[in-house]
Amino acid sequence: MHSNKRFIESNKHGVVLACFAVVVATALAFTQHLTKDRIHTNQVVRIQNSLAEVLPDDRYDLPLDKQKIELPDSTSNKNRTIYVISKNTVPVAVIISAVAENGYSGSIEMLVGILADDTVSGVRITKHAETPGLGDAIEAQKSDWIKSFDGKSLAAPTESRWTVKKQNGDFDQFTGATITPRAVIHEVKNTLIFYQSVRQQFYQ
């Protein structure tokens, strides 16, 4: 008899818990439904903004993220994400994701925008763990250094000058940090070489 009473007792707890769970779940489902579209828009806008940073404004049709493809990079055996940018359905530029593995502390992730004339339209760092105050000058918010890639191509400057000034290159180094900029420069160059190998796939 006693155990029976306890059974009812514990069932009662279950029921109360379930009620709370249902109420909360309903509220959440409702909110999720309300915010779903807006959150999606936010995400799209965000990706577009980051892609747009490496491209001048007037050369593409929205949305940027529709033309997303993955291609293998034979030199690093990794897949690269490539966004093909079109204007009036004609491809005008590509944005290629790149990862510099040999940063001062860990790898540096970035996006490289390349126009149809094979010049760099822009480079932006998306993720890094470089020393604060020293290596983080690669961020566009911290310094203009990253903009020194704009308009460069594999032909100009010549391959040997794709390095820091200390090694007779065309690019500035930062005071106290050479590894970080060198890693970025090296990776942009690699990306350009990769771009050359796959170029004909976008521009028939």
Binding site: H13, L17, A21, A27, L28, T31, R38, I39, P132
Partner: protein, 236 residues
């Protein structure tokens, strides 16, 4: 802490039931507000929720963002817990608190994701982690579950505001020392056009980078605690 919760509960119910005694005692709502904001501040007195506090307070706007999220959560959870306290059987009260709090946090997270997307991304994991902020569970258990809805709401508001205030102050100090600005990027929260910072020491200001890095958070929070204790001891 539980004890203080009890005394507040006792004081407020006393005052609410008998008007005669309330003339002798200070206004219970004022007491509740003062407790949450100063005397029993969750961050500087109870030292609860320090992980998010130290992690995200590297700028005033981050502090404000997490502060609002936390304050809303503690306010809503206090109200909910207080409103449903008659259904809260002792054996299942903690699971129910967890359901309520995690539901509210998810809700706040969704809303922030939708209406303050940049701040949401900046705060990252610390929005869902509000659930683990023991200050909230502590208020639900020690106050809301044994006090009327209005009192609980005020208590939640005071506690949340107290926590948010510490976050904002610490964030502002760190931002000022580290970057030379206060309240930069306010537009990220309001979703408007860029707003200039409240204080801007200029481009040439050489900030102490350590202030916005984690070690600086510990040092400055320690100094903030010392300052708070100094003020409290002066009052005494």
């Amino acid at each position: 802490m539980e004890e203080t919760g009890n005394t507040i509960a006792a004081a407020s119910t006393d005052a609410a039931t008998s008007i005669k005694t309330s003339t002798v005692k200070p206004n219970p709502w004022k007491t509740l507000l003062l407790n949450g904001l100063w005397h029993n501040n969750p961050a500087t007195v109870q030292l609860l929720g320090l992980c998010p506090l130290l992690a995200v307070s590297n700028s005033a706007i981050n502090g404000l963002g997490l502060g609002i999220a936390t304050a809303v959560t503690v306010l809503l959870s206090n109200v909910f817990v207080s409103a449903t306290k008659s259904y809260l059987l002792p054996e299942i009260r903690i699971p129910v608190y967890v359901i309520i709090i995690s539901g509210i946090v998810t809700l706040v997270g969704l809303l922030m994701n939708a209406y303050a997307h940049d701040i949401y991304l900046r705060l990252g994991i610390f929005i869902p982690l509000i659930i683990t902020n023991c200050a909230i569970l502590a208020r639900a258990e020690s106050f809301a579950s044994r006090n009327p809805v209005i009192d609980s709401a005020i208590d939640g508001l005071a506690t949340g505001a107290g926590f948010a205030a510490v976050l904002i102050v610490l964030g502002a100090v760190r931002e000022l020392i580290g970057h030379g600005t206060v309240m930069a990027d306010l537009h990220l929260l309001l979703g408007t056009d860029p707003i200039p910072p409240l204080i801007n020491l200029g481009e040439n200001f050489k900030g102490l980078l350590v202030a916005i890095l984690p070690p600086g958070a510990f040092v400055l929070f320690g100094l903030l605690l010392a300052l708070k204790n100094l003020c409290s001891s002066d009052q005494r």
